[in-house]
Structure formats: C-alpha cells, structure tokens
Amino acid sequence: MSYKTFRLWQGIVGAVIGAVIAVSVVTGNAIVPIPTVIVGMLIIIALRRRVKEVIADERVYAIAEKASRLTVQIVGIAMAAVGGTLLAISHGGSSVLAQVGFTLSYATCGLLVIYYVAYTYYNRKLGGKE
C-alpha cells in the first residue's frame, strides 16, 4: 500500500469515527464511541503496517522532540503564571478562583515531575550519570 492510499483510508476512518461520536453526543449514547475509537485505531495501525514506504524517520522524531520541549515550556510557564495570578487575586476573595489557581499550580508541579522522571529515565538509558 502506498502512503497516499494510507492517508486516504486514514481520513475515511477518522471521518467515520467523528460521525459516530457526533451522533453519540446528539443521542446521549456514551458507550458506542469507546469501541468505535478502539476499532478505528486498530484499523489505522493495521493499515499502517501495510505501508511499504518510510513514514517517519529520525527527522520526524527530532521535530517531535523540539515541539514537545517547546510545548512543555509554554504550557508550564502559562499555567504557573495564570495559577499564581489567580491565587494572588483570590486572596481572601473568591474560592472558585483559588481552586482553579491551586489546580493549575499543582498541574504545573505535576508536569515538571513527569518531565524530571522522563528525563532521568532517558538519561540513564542513554548512559548518563546524573
């Protein structure tokens, strides 16, 4: 299978999944979307294995690494700034703002912890001695 054919089938499967989810949302059915998404993902994985061409190589992974790092930077700084601002504003005032501020602040801490664990894992895997 060529890459173009794969992309076409990927689009069709994606459209079917989207349509099923949309119908499920309208009808209030919460069960149907889950197996649909799982089956759709399995179909896409099976189709991808049939593609002979190289779809992703080291350049794609390098781009993904840089994009991931930038995302962590932007999201981390934004969440910390917004969370801190909300906590400062809500001091003695709105409890809703304080809850959102705490949530964002803890989410930032969680993000940094996950980043640290992932960094330590790959550092050890790739021979570092930090």
């Binding site: 190289v54 794609v60 930077q73």
Partner: protein, 83 residues
C-alpha cells in the same frame, strides 16, 4: 538539575548546521537519481532528503552512513564539516 537547565535553554536549536553535503550533486552523478529513490535506499523520508539538500537538517551518523552507502562512496565524499 540539568534537565531543568535544558528545559529553560533557548536558541541553540535554531542555529544553522555547519555540516555541508554534496547529496544533490551526487544524485545527478548517479544517473539523476530521484529523491524518492535515495530516500528508499537510505530508509528515510523524501522530506528528509529535501531538508538535507537545503542544508536545514544534519543527519545522525547512522543515516549519514546509509546515504553514503546508497551512493557507494565514503562518508567524507558526502558530508563535510565547515570550520
């Protein structure tokens, strides 16, 4: 906390590479080999070959060897480091 230092570091990843290559010339020297054929021989994508020819991407040593092998020449014939 080296990981945080790296996370906060900026700028170094957009520098232009100092490694030049002769991929385009070598392709034409090998019977006007198309980019797709070279990509198949080197097990990479055509977009990577395009990026290499434009000097926007520096390959890993493994890919560099695969490209040199695809042309049947030594690594130094394909890639040069600019002082």
């Amino acid at each position: 906390m080296l990981c945080i230092d790296y996370l906060l570091a900026t700028g170094e990843w957009i520098e232009m590479p100092r490694i030049k290559n002769n991929i385009r010339r070598l392709r034409f020297d090998h019977g006007e080999m198309i980019q797709e054929e070279l990509a198949n021989r080197a097990s990479c994508t055509r977009q990577t070959i395009i990026a290499l020819e434009q000097g926007k991407y520096v390959p890993s040593i493994e890919l560099a060897f695969r490209i040199a092998r695809a042309f049947g020449v030594a690594l130094e014939k394909v890639f040069q480091y600019e002082e």
